[in-house]
Symmetry: D2
Subunit: 328 residues, 4 copies
């Protein structure tokens, strides 16, 4: 970067999302610039035939309608691997089985919600019975069909996909052969449902406990990483789903392309808030990688970036050779 | 709000900014919702013929290409009054007189910039000689033409408009008869240039000091506020420019429409971070006002909202009767 | 709260941390108030003989010298259970085995660090060979001593404690019989070392893979939760370690005492940023719970609160009856 | 900085604020480090006999009990100049004249507060009649005693000091001969009271309008800056009060010592969020200056730092020679 590009006045009159992206380029400063840069990193990444793209995101986003866009990313081949958290399973399953989420409010007396049986996720509401029980039912039903004493989390999710409707991220992941991983799978209704299934089995004569083994998933991830030519990542939010992507990437020399879309701040030393440059010191991102980060709510930035990419790229032709299993 | 509207999956495929806004409606949660709500508040406000719209913004934004959009808002009649800070004058004048701003970087050794004579505003760069000296020249030249011992800040700016090219916010404000106020006018190159002009006058025989009197501006603002039927505001960023809008609005019973676009957080008790609801307790915003706030960098949100509004509203017919002066 | 307590001018002259806390009470507003409130919640909680206290924290904190204070909390009986993330194991083990961490800087060229073999965690530096290899060695050595095909994560950590010196959080957890849980245990050097151990075993004749089963930990947590009379939590930072505490607490009717110490913001709908009141809607925190949250870097707030508590409470007498295992 | 200082485990057991500061040194990372660094910058600055210390802060802080500490800083000679915003005058005068502020809450229905006549500042409440009317009365009464057609803001404040009790920051500023400046003086009840005074005078036969001229204050600031040997600043919060300090400092070659205590983030390109290093590019802070910043609520950090400094330094002997006026 030699800082010779000028900032220029953007004019009102943009109609398309593509025009909007171009305005951000002109604006040239603060996060508008980072957003434009992110669009460039994505465009490069998706025009590189050799890259395995990992998508990560946090669970709260799935409680909003961003779920449809995340599913769309998978369906259009814009991700080769998904890494997320347990809550994603909860919301995705709940919604797939008829759970209805409402536009709620941050400013509400939560004890009133409690008495009405309504859970709050920020400014989103969902009735209690539209959440936990639906997840438990799906998980118990799926586990009862497992024919082995041990199963990986991804395997279990793909088995569960048969219970879900076409709105589901999990189902799309299976249909599109985009493996989905949940390194912290125990942390939510999904994990608890596995536990309660096993508790019931234990106390039942002829009960059969199933070991859901996340180390099997780790092996799959390792194989994907090692068999990739290049690595790219779209990391939405922080936490374990973010770290897991960059952690594994270091074993292949680091990401070649990376975009962070987050609200987390750097100065608290958090992994969530760390910029791509911190990851360079670890070998998680290559020094010469194309990288960008945008500090903003992903519910705002993801629709801009991925509607833009979808209209530029349409459906990406994925290189399926890299995976160690058969998706037919 | 009875929280009966559902969150729904947004799908990839949005092409226009209007589609994007509609996606935010479906997404229905977190800041995407607030952004959609802001678009509704703006749409209502601009379809109300009785409202006087106040636009406020911070100076740093004018160092980016958002300057063109802010000017466009004025030119299209989407603001009746502008309240901003001294740095806006600095950047606007500098750019109008040939000052060039570059896409820079946050991560740079600032002592190297110093030695190269480059000022940094976030990730925007401008050469020293493209900033202060240009402002000083314009201010001194304008003051030398003032035919009174006292002048208000707005008056001075409109006089200075003649020195500026058509890219200028100040010039657009004059041409469109949209008064522009700078309650903290001394805080930047603009204010210092007034001071140095007067210092020179003092030491010169026949020198004539000019009292730039911000209380004249306050009187104008007071008259505008009192003669308005309804009040609306678009408040971009915080600080003195934000507070001045809501402070004055309380004397007319509070704002009827308001949108806050800011990065500032509420929990530090700052005025910048206070939500519209805090302003309700002061009578600065009516309890029944249509209001929204979006926590995100304005360089991202303003282009979305105002390109949308520009395409819906085009050019707004303003009600010029309310002002206490003659703009012909 | 009936808002009849006055804000009062604090005067300079506070000498002790206790005086400081009292100043925050007088200051009475913004986060000083929340910090004072947090001190009250902790004081109540630690004077209640019936409460099981869960401590959670994020891994990055263990890279700083806050590690000693976190260990002190355990040693003084101020926690009955610890829930944290994989990186905690990494940093704790590395430091226990001679790994040295330095005061670094955020503003540094990370590619230079990479070439020098230095990892960066915010403004903390650690040499590569003082991190991963030390963790791998400890894990491999410990796993080679495991006498079962399956082991829980806590069990494994307590086994590994024998390799660690007295500065270690893990060792303190064992010595003090304060179980430590890592729901996302695979996400870091610790998890990868388990995987590589098993990979080696697989390819070796007579190799014996060990299933590290996090569901065993979940069972332990469940038992602790169910056998508790009351629940309290000190939740430092967000992510999986925060959620796991409140998630499990809902199955016992919610937390009776809770303090959140975090930098995460609410408006992005994140679990990390959610306030105690959101948890009330889920039944994770009781509506009548004593709760407080402080938005600030925990490296600043934890030393204030826990030095204060340590000087008030000294060593807490824990009620060991509740745990389902034998610590002698 | 050559990054050879080690992070070390802090132990529980700190009793004094000095011990606490020392713990932050050991902790060595994230904002604990920055807070320790800030204590070092302050200690150096206050042991340098040649430095003129400028204190700046935002108005909201004066609504809390931090007011007493800010006053203490002035009384102990720890500031030579104060730059703040109009709201400081409002809260300081209101409190000095019997206005009572209460511990309120962020989570409240503000329309209820409105109907009860209660203003909210974050989580602080004040009754309407304890605010605006008290300020108006003091200002009108003071203006009626002014014996000139023009007066600077500082002069006016020092005149008004006679109406105030000893809790007042303004009164302390006069008594200690620490000039106080309000570059954006029109923005609040203080400014509006000046305007309404003049409006009344205008409509009254024999009425005498008073021109409150902030350019007189600017001249004073200029003289102070030019007559200083070295410059130091404690900048609490952002906005106009922050910028005014660093803006003027550039004309003397930049600050030699500076501490920023703020919650504002850097990535939005705001002046409020800009770090000391950005100011280096402008010549506002010297490249070799001792500088530190702490991102945290000042209601938490200021009591730590200034109780520490007060106990180390006691009362600072100020060099009064530099000012262009007579304070006897
Ligand atoms: N920033 C400059 O370029 C500049 C130049 C000369 C003078 N000044 C002076 O500095 C003082 C302080 O500047 P200010 O009051 O204009 O604003 P500021 O930069 O201090 O911003 C005030 C608040 O507005 C919000 N904000 C700022 N940038 C934002 C963005 N990109 N998106 C959303 N929200 C944003 C932030 O929360 C910030 O805390 C003023 O008196 C001004 O005249 C500034
Ligand atoms: N950070 C490390 O050093 C490290 C090392 C190895 C593995 N990991 C893995 O990375 C993943 C994510 O890390 P995490 O979940 O431990 O936490 P994190 O760093 O992602 O933090 C989560 C949230 O906690 C809050 N937080 C963080 N630091 C804080 C502070 N100083 N003060 C107050 N609040 C703070 C922030 O809001 C942050 O968004 C985990 O799975 C972890 O095992 C981290």
């Amino acid at each position: 970067m030699n800082h010779e590009e000028r900032v220029a006045d953007a004019e009102l009159g943009a109609k398309s999302i593509k025009d909007l992206i171009e305005s951000y380029n002109l604006i040239g400063g603060f996060m508008a610039r980072n957003l434009y840069d992110a669009s460039r990193v994505l465009a490069s990444m998706y025009s590189d035939p050799d890259v395995t793209v990992i998508l990560s995101f946090t669970a709260n986003l799935v409680s909003t309608g961003l779920r449809g866009i995340l599913r769309g990313i998978i369906e259009r081949g814009l991700a080769d691997v998904v890494i997320t958290t347990a809550g994603t399973v909860d919301h995705d399953v709940a919604k797939s089985l008829g759970g209805v989420y409402f536009k709620g409010s941050f400013d509400i007396d939560d004890s009133v919600l409690l008495s009405k049986g309504i859970h709050r996720i920020g400014n989103v509401f969902v009735r209690k019975e539209h959440y936990g029980p639906l997840v438990e039912k799906a998980v118990h039903s799926t586990l009862s069909k497992v024919n082995a004493s041990e199963i990986g989390v991804r395997e279990l999710l793909w088995l569960m996909a048969d219970e879900l409707d076409d709105s589901s991220i999990i189902k799309a992941s299976k249909r599109s052969c985009v493996p989905i991983y949940i390194p912290g799978f125990v942390d939510g209704a999904f994990g608890t449902a596995i536990l309660t299934y096993n508790e019931v089995q234990r106390t039942r004569s002829g009960g059969r406990r199933i070991n859901v083994n996340v180390l099997k998933d780790e092996e799959e991830i390792m194989n994907i990483i090692y068999s990739s030519k290049k690595l790219g990542a779209v990391i939405i939010g922080g936490g374990i789903s973010k770290h897991h992507v960059i952690w594994w990437s270091q074993f292949k020399g680091g990401l070649d392309y990376v975009v962070y879309l987050t609200t987390a701040t750097e100065w608290d030393g958090s992994l969530s808030g760390a910029r791509p440059k911190e990851a360079v010191s670890w070998g998680k991102v290559k020094p010469e990688a194309k990288s960008a980060f945008v500090l903003a709510d992903a519910t705002i930035t993801v629709p801009i970036l991925f509607n833009y990419i979808a209209s530029e790229v349409g459906f990406r032709k994925r290189n399926m050779g890299v995976y160690p299993w058969n998706c037919q």
